[in-house]
Symmetry: D3
């Protein structure tokens, strides 16, 4: 029996579709709990947005991580992943980090399709922080915001296919990573149109979290992940 | 229901302990099949050794991959992993590649404990081929051959602890990857002695293979993994 | 006439010493305004701490940047620097980024003396994000917290000298960057003891901000620094 | 009171426009002295040219540096910068190095517009020597020699705008560095046409030199900048 | 007097043209011996192909290296080069490694024209393993198999010229390396059509081998090139 | 028949030993011509020294290259190599570049033993300019000047052995490159004491030059090696 806490680091109305999505891929003995923020931005598209979700995301994690075996933070910006590792003694998995790790095992070079143009720099910085920039073939933003992705799935899918094809044909990408966990509804259409694998980051992070729990792997609180001094927050 | 083919790319007497080892971590609906070579070296410790197992490893894979959902090649040299991907339409996972991918998700820098001194160069070349050399803190060979690892588990464990501590204390490693799939018996002792995670590569590869199957991820036959022309082998 | 807004991204009792410090190096026609947070952590030593200062830091910047010609965020973690650039149309300078930029102009390799051991990874990640990791000779944390640095200046200075000498003698550093803007009181003692330059990051950032204003340089709102959608913050 | 020595490392007729240019941006208490070569090439466009200016540039610096607080060598090839640091105990600033250091503080990737096609390799080598090649989006030479830049400013400006736009639109540059200190007259026109910052290297170097003097920063004579043995020059 | 053993690591009908080719460039006192495989693939175009030639290539080398002063393995995949170095106490030279080493001495960036599209990844992996990926401007496969190259030399030459021109004009390559030792017959035509040097890898490897023999240079059996334990091969 | 021009880029009394040294390794049909400067420094140990030999080195090359098939510039700083390539239509070979290219073909990592401590930075910058810094295990200066190397060969040899052993044992170097072409007299003693290859740069450059001539390889005058405009030198 494992319990995975999936944290939505934004203000959300509901998580029904995510529940169903993970139910279809989880191991039989895995329980999934979803939590989301009660206020704040509805999406993380800039560093500014991220700044306004981090504290609440960590508060929610602190409140709900008891009893959990691993945490997944459901946003491709991986907001708070390092901070949550500092805080916790269970694995914390980021969709961006986990999906890139799988992409590297099935492609010489992978590419990312994302929301806005600024994702090019943001995703390159993620790759550089991980030391894997040489594996990233390119990034294209389709100029749709996170909350617009589900408005017209057909259009979103069409734009993603166009971007992915350019990344495959021109940049030599051999796998496509979806650069937003809100692209789930368009994933099937994209997969049908491409002859390279398409990696959806929430599912990648979730299966990685399950694997870490089974393998008994937890990060250490030495080196990078120093335990924070919780007494420092002024009351 | 998934079926994972685990290939021992060396000549082996038996795989009982590996069967038991993976039984303890596999998902309930996963079937595991083991195959090994009927001749050839008993371990892969040099490029020379590897040259003498590659063709037979691929022959064994070709003969047994029918019906399998994924292949794991059980050696930290990841011998034949790329060639098997060229050949097959199911995921092929290497213990070295999979364990490093997990290590990168729980440590700023990881290190590898290995068998002989030449493993330093070999492991650095693996990391460089994957573009992740900046994440590798160091490699130490304990100067025991693969087949000597199990002769005196206590001694092996002691040597591994010594090497791992140097990598953690001097090189700043925050996770240790076992650089040989024959180090399984010493893993528990090493874990008990260290305050950083220890990643065993066969188990890492196996769980990664299960995850890829669940996620429906398969590499493409374009770019790097061109299908080989089987008619070229002269009869 | 230029006005530089210096933001303390932590909860602070007073900024008298910083006022005096910058008065001594500012250009005659530069006005300096200091602001700090009214609550939150008293220092940023972990990603967790940073998460709890970012939103307030940006709120303070938004409230006070009107009329300013540039912003300096006074913390070596450079918290909120990218987010503030997204928000503003004036230069935003980070002490870490500015001091490393100067260090690179006077040393083949520079090193950083910092507070805790986790600063090694944090500073390496900063350098890697900037693509300058090959210029960083090393980082040593003296295991004193930010707020302990001023408790016993003599002791702090002694520890910094010891760390700096190791970085110069063993790692080949040719310049030392102070890895915390709270090390100002120890800078003179450290300079006296070393035969390599010592770069204090707040002063480096401040002079860089003045230079950018004089040169009329401002980042663009294209590529990385997309303007945030302020309407997204749920009321 | 500071005195900055600006060295023209070529044979020049006059420096009136440079005097005026720096007067407009210098701090009130800064004195500027200009010196140039009395013979030699009129521009540095190749390594061959550079070879014929280096010795005289250093002779001029040696003759005039007494009483100066910093030296700026006014050529984007940064000729003699390292050698002058070996010789002197005051900061020596290169326009290429200083402008790239500022560009990195306002852009994820910057690009350089230059004179001839060979500047692509030369500028890439500069960036690589500084370890910042990952920040350089691209280089385009407009195929006008240094001495032709001022012949028809309008044409020069037009060519620079065309090159800069390609670097911004196709290569993703978020800032443009002028790759020749002779492009000053075209800078205003280029700035007006672009929506990214344009960094002029002489002014960048000059303000950096002033900042270094104020901050009391001087390179060390250990590691890279060994003092030359002046007695070795055979008479 | 030197003797160079040239090994064809594939099944071949004859080596007359190679004999003649090397005769024209060898030093007067150099003897050349050719050996090839008696079975196996007729070309190495995939990792799968390589797996089926490695053991026999090493067997042939072991049988014929006695009396030789150096070994050249005549295939751009450099198959078995590292393994042969483990085995032998004389230099072993690979055409890919040797030709890239020369290309780097006459070009800021070089490019490779190759057979199939998968050569892009394979050649990039070669460059990365050597740590020289920043010098590789690009790779283009002309979609002709190794054995088709000689079927219509004129057509092959035309395709190579087209690919090389794109690499020179678009990617900025300043030298072209032929990515297959079977491209010798097209080299003259390619050279005539280009204004950059064209490096043929077999000849590059051969002259490098002669130079190593003259210089008395042999790799060490420590670090990477551990001597293999020949007793391990099960009989 | 080939003619190689060997240029001593310093003021020298005689070249008898160099003549003899190259006679022993040259091909029978190779003629060697030596030229040296008639004034200037007697060694190149700093960038300052280099600045005072470059123009004369190029003048000497220009005067003597007629009729030569290749040029070798006999100094490990490779002074003027790029400038001479701009000028000439025959190969120009640098001892540092050529010896590192050979070292990379016989070692995973090589190291350099050099004269003064500043050679660490200088050699690292050379490696970085060539994009091969990941292959350089380390550099040690023995704190003897170029002209002191031959004063007491036994002492020089002892110091070189000590430095080389540290580079092999501590830094993992698998080959040693002599970082000064004046170390020829100590090479034999060093070779006898080490179990890794020792590469002497003048001989490496000379044999590379011969190979380039035989192979008909010459750099192009496009990209990096633009022809200099000789009319620019003011008379």
């Amino acid at each position: 029996m494992k319990k995975i806490l999936v944290v939505e680091p934004v203000f959300l109305d509901g998580v029904e579709s995510e529940v169903e999505y993970l139910d279809a891929i989880k191991e039989p003995d895995t329980a999934v709990e979803f939590v989301s923020l009660e206020s704040g931005p509805t999406s993380v598209e800039t560093y500014y947005d991220e700044a306004f979700v981090l504290a609440d995301t960590l508060r929610v994690i602190e409140a709900h991580a008891g009893g959990a075996d691993a945490v997944v933070i459901n946003c491709f910006a991986d907001p708070g992943v390092i901070a949550a590792r500092e805080l916790l003694d269970i694995p914390v998995v980021g969709p961006s980090e986990a999906s890139m790790a799988l992409a590297m095992q099935m492609a010489h070079r992978f590419a990312v399709v994302s929301v806005y143009e600024n994702s090019v720099a943001l995703t390159e910085l993620q790759a550089r922080a991980r030391g894997i920039e040489s594996r990233l073939a390119g990034v294209i933003g389709i100029e749709l915001g996170v909350c617009e992705l589900e408005e017209d799935i057909e259009n979103t899918t069409r734009l993603l296919i166009e971007a992915a094809r350019e990344l495959v044909d021109v940049k030599g990408a051999e796998a496509i990573v979806l650069g937003c966990t809100g692209m789930v509804p368009a994933a099937a259409g994209l997969r049908a149109a491409l002859d390279v694998p398409v990696i959806e980051p929430l599912s990648a992070a979730f299966k990685t979290a399950e694997a870490m729990v089974t393998l008994g792997l937890v990060h250490a609180h030495k080196g990078q992940y120093r335990r924070p001094d919780l007494s420092k927050l002024k009351s």
